[in-house]
Structure formats: structure tokens, C-alpha cells
């Protein structure tokens, strides 16, 4: 059993279809994600990225097709899938009335872990939130909320993590922090599926990139493979101007 699961991709999606009334959002989506890799699902607004993530995390039922996560079928083995995953949705799903620590303890309790307090303290330290641990989350900045949100998703060490546009609305420093966290996660063997409309983000993080367009995956490959789809690069001499981001980070300092 387990040996089979190791051979299989961490996520396998075949012929996924989903419509909302007249709107045919997914028209047959196929892709595989290798265990321990970062897979970026790239697409513009409304392309159906969130729909894919919601089907994979058992919040939505597909009209057709199959999705297998960690060897479990999303439609038939929902409870096993939920045991294997964590979802970090498009908007930081944190409880604003509770403190940061209480949020983490809450999730640790719901995951039935032995020592919720210790789990919380460990993650607070890892995400540089120890000083803010006792504060109400409503007072947190956007970057802190996102960090807490991701920390909550790591509780229980699920083998597969979905990140739905994890850096939307974050400032450049907070975005770099999130990127660092995602890389760390994959470094520890976690499979990460992230959706983004930010091309830099996909380029920075992903082992493989798939573009979702018109309800289908139109390309799927490594960055190098994707680049080869275009005519070979011409050599041009261009004055290297600093980007506005370089300027911003130089002035503000890229570390907190």
C-alpha cells in the first residue's frame, strides 16, 4: 500500500471539469505534482485557479474528472484527503478576535495534537511572531496575518499544502518572507501547490509551472522548458537599470 503511494505523484488531476450555472470554468484540467516539489498554477483572474484548489481541498465537488491527493480520492475519501492537506486560502483565514497564540493553539487542538501550547510556541518563534503572540490578531499588519495564516497551515505537518495566491496584497518585504517560508517547506519534503498571477513569483519558487487558461492547462513544464517555447533569445545590449523594487528594498532594507 504505502510503497505504491510513494511511487505515485503527490497530486494527480485528470479531466477535471466544473461549471457554475452557465459559466464553464474548468473544461478538463490535467496535471501531476511530484512529492516534495513546488508546483505553480499560473493564470489570470477568474481563470479557475481557486476552483481547482477548492476541489483538491474537498470544499467543492467536481462535475467530472478525478483528483487524487496523497493517494486518496478527493470525492470519495474526503476525510483522508483532509488529513493529508492544509489549505491557505486567498485571504488570511485567521481569527481576529483571538491572539496569534490562541489561533495556533486552536488549530493544534482541532488537529488533535498532544501539546498544542508547545506547537504554538515553536511556530511563533519560527515565524518571528513571538513578540506579538499575546496581541489580538485584528491589530496585526497584513504581512503578520499572512505569516500566522501559513503557520496555522503547517500545524500537524501535512504532506501537501495548497497556497492560494499567498502574496497577493503583501508589500515586497512580506512577499520575500513568504517566499522564504515556501522554499523551506519544500526543502523539508512538503509538496506545495501554489496559485499565483504573479509571474515573478512562479519564476522564483516553482519547480514546475502550469498555465491555466480557458479552462485547461495550456502549458506545463519547468521554467527552462517554458522559455524554450519562445524563439531563442537574441543578444541585446541593454543598460541595466535598477527596478523600482530594487530601489525600494535598498532604501527600506530587505531584512526586517
Amino acid at each position: 500500500m504505502t510503497a505504491d503511494h510513494v511511487q505515485e505523484p503527490a497530486i494527480r488531476v485528470r479531466g477535471l471539469e466544473k461549471s457554475y450555472k452557465e459559466l464553464h470554468v474548468l473544461r478538463g484540467v490535467d496535471f501531476d505534482v511530484t512529492p516534495g516539489s513546488i508546483f505553480a498554477l499560473l493564470g489570470s483572474n477568474g481563470a479557475g485557479k481557486t476552483t481547482v484548489v477548492n476541489i483538491l481541498s474537498t470544499l467543492l465537488k467536481a462535475d467530472a474528472g478525478t483528483a487524487t491527493i496523497n493517494g486518496f480520492d478527493a470525492a470519495a475519501q474526503g476525510a483522508d484527503v483532509r488529513q493529508s492537506i492544509s489549505l491557505t486560502g486567498q485571504f488570511a483565514a485567521v481569527d481576529g478576535i483571538l491572539s496569534g497564540r490562541e489561533n495556533l493553539v486552536l488549530v493544534a487542538r482541532l488537529r488533535h495534537l498532544k501539546d498544542p501550547g508547545a506547537v504554538a510556541d515553536d511556530l511563533l518563534a519560527r515565524f518571528s511572531l513571538t513578540d506579538a503572540a499575546a496581541r489580538k490578531v485584528a491589530t496585526y499588519s497584513g504581512g503578520m496575518r499572512r505569516r500566522l495564516d501559513i503557520a496555522m497551515s503547517l500545524i500537524g505537518n501535512p504532506p501537501v499544502i495548497f497556497l492560494d495566491e499567498p502574496t497577493t496584497g503583501l508589500d515586497p518585504q512580506a512577499r520575500i518572507e513568504v517566499w522564504r517560508t515556501v522554499k523551506e517547506l519544500a526543502g523539508r519534503g512538503t509538496t506545495v501547490l501554489l496559485t499565483t498571477q504573479d509571474l515573478d513569483e512562479a519564476e522564483e519558487l516553482a519547480d514546475r509551472i502550469a498555465i491555466l487558461h480557458g479552462g485547461r492547462i495550456i502549458v506545463n513544464g519547468t521554467l527552462a522548458e517554458l522559455k524554450r517555447l519562445l524563439p531563442p533569445a537574441k543578444v541585446e545590449y541593454v543598460e541595466k537599470q535598477p527596478t523600482l523594487e530594487d530601489v525600494f528594498l535598498a532604501l527600506v532594507g530587505s531584512d526586517e
Binding site: L59, A79, R82, A92, D95, L98
Partner: protein
């Protein structure tokens, strides 16, 4: 994962109760309107209302308690709506927990919050001269009816919380429920009302519930009222629960 139903519901109940403890204003605002009605009717209008012997506050309290519950459950819809809005509802639903415990935690929270508000209102009524010689069994029956009524309205609130499009919408459904006691035996005897109004008043749920509680408080024999009251409560509860669960299942795969 259903074997975790009770522990998961307990954890989530603890979360919502913490919300209430940190915003006690929700308990106060729930209690303030019924208390204002009570003051208005006892000290301003009540002198002109003929309800037979005994102080008017004794006559009035059962209806006021129902208004308290009707205003309290709008916060239940509000809390549920905010969970849906913030994405934390989806976070819980994507976790390895007993999924229905998310709804049950809100329902139990509603029960606790409303019972606290009811105690506050009864204490104010005692200050205003409310007295009852009812013994333990009668009080037990009264609490039972109020709990059943709260549960029935709470599941209505779950429908509103799950299907509302805005915060205002989530709370607004409670207004008609708050007004329903005015067209019942809660404030004046129905015999004083003109025909059609009287017919409506005597055949809507509030009148039978109010009459049953009033008779229990007054240590009078409860007639058919209590059975009609229970039938209404159970009926609303079953219908609201069924509709709420249907909407819930449609939302969550």
C-alpha cells in the same frame, strides 16, 4: 473523523465563547432592547392596560423573554456570517475535523449567550417588581420551553448566516421575529383586538408560548397551551434545521 465530534465541537465552542467574553457588548445590546420595552410598557403604557389582577410586569415578562431571544439570535447569524466571510469557515472545513461541529459550535454558543441575556433580563424584572411563586418543576419547564424556542430560532439564524450576502442582511431577518410578540398576547389580552388581528394573534406561535410560560409563572394549571407551544417550537426547529442543513450541504461538498 466523526469520532472527534464532541472534542471538536468543544474546542470550537470554546473559541466562540471567547469571542463573546471579549465583546460583552453583544450580551448587553441583546438585553437592552427588551429591557427598554419592559420599562416603557410597565412605567408608561402599562397603567392603561387591563390584564386582570397582579402587577403588569408579571403579565409582560414572558413576552419580553421571547423578544430577548429573537434579538439575541441575530448575533448568531452575524457570527456565522463573519466566519464565512473571513475564510475561517473554509479553513475549518478543509481540516481533518468532524465538519458539522463547526455549525454545532455556533448553535451551542447561541444557546449560552441567550441564556446569559435571559438571566440579565429576569434580574431587571425582579428589580421592577416581578414575583413568581413557581416551584422548581415549573421553572424547569419554563427553562425547557425557552431553550427549545432558542434552538428553533437559532437554526433560523443559521439559515440567515449561511445565505446572507451582507452583514446587514445577516442581522435583518430577526426584525420580524422581534415584532411578532406585539401581535400576540404578550402585551395585551388578545380579546381586546379586532377580529382578523385577533385571529392572527391567537394562532401564531408566540401567543401559546407566552400563555404557557405565564401560567407556569402564576402557578396556574397549564392547559392545551403548553402542547401547542411545544408543537410550534419543535415544528420550527425541525423545518429550520432541515433547511439549514440542506443549504450547508450545498455550500460544502
Amino acid at each position: 473523523m466523526t469520532n472527534h465530534f464532541f472534542s471538536d465541537t468543544g474546542v470550537l465552542l470554546g473559541r466562540s465563547l471567547r469571542h463573546i467574553a471579549r465583546s460583552l457588548d453583544t450580551i448587553i445590546t441583546t438585553a437592552i432592547m427588551p429591557i427598554a420595552f419592559m420599562l416603557l410598557f410597565v412605567y408608561v403604557l402599562g397603567g392603561a392596560i387591563q390584564t386582570g389582577s397582579g402587577p403588569y410586569v408579571n403579565y409582560l415578562l414572558p413576552g419580553i423573554l421571547l423578544i430577548t431571544i429573537a434579538s439575541g439570535i441575530s448575533y448568531t447569524a452575524y457570527r456565522l456570517f463573519m466566519d464565512m466571510q473571513s475564510g475561517i469557515f473554509e479553513r475549518f472545513q478543509s481540516m481533518p475535523i468532524a465538519r458539522s461541529s463547526v455549525l454545532w459550535a455556533h448553535v451551542l454558543t447561541s444557546l449560552v449567550a441567550n441564556l446569559i441575556s435571559l438571566v440579565v433580563v429576569v434580574l431587571v424584572a425582579l428589580l421592577m417588581g416581578f414575583r413568581s411563586g413557581a416551584g422548581a418543576p415549573a421553572w424547569f419547564a419554563i427553562v425547557g420551553i425557552l431553550v427549545l424556542f432558542t434552538l428553533a430560532l437559532t437554526w433560523l439564524a443559521v439559515i440567515a448566516g449561511l445565505s446572507a450576502k451582507s452583514v446587514d442582511g445577516a442581522g435583518a431577518f430577526a426584525y420580524p421575529l422581534i415584532l411578532l410578540p406585539f401581535i400576540s398576547s404578550a402585551f395585551v389580552p388578545t380579546a381586546t383586538m379586532p377580529g382578523p388581528v385577533r385571529a392572527f394573534a391567537e394562532n401564531q406561535p408566540v401567543t401559546s408560548i407566552v400563555n404557557a410560560i405565564r401560567e407556569l409563572f402564576a402557578q396556574q394549571p397549564v392547559g392545551a397551551d403548553i402542547w401547542i407551544a411545544l408543537a410550534w417550537c419543535v415544528g420550527i426547529l425541525v423545518v429550520a434545521y432541515t433547511v439549514a442543513m440542506t443549504i450547508y450541504r450545498r455550500k460544502i461538498a
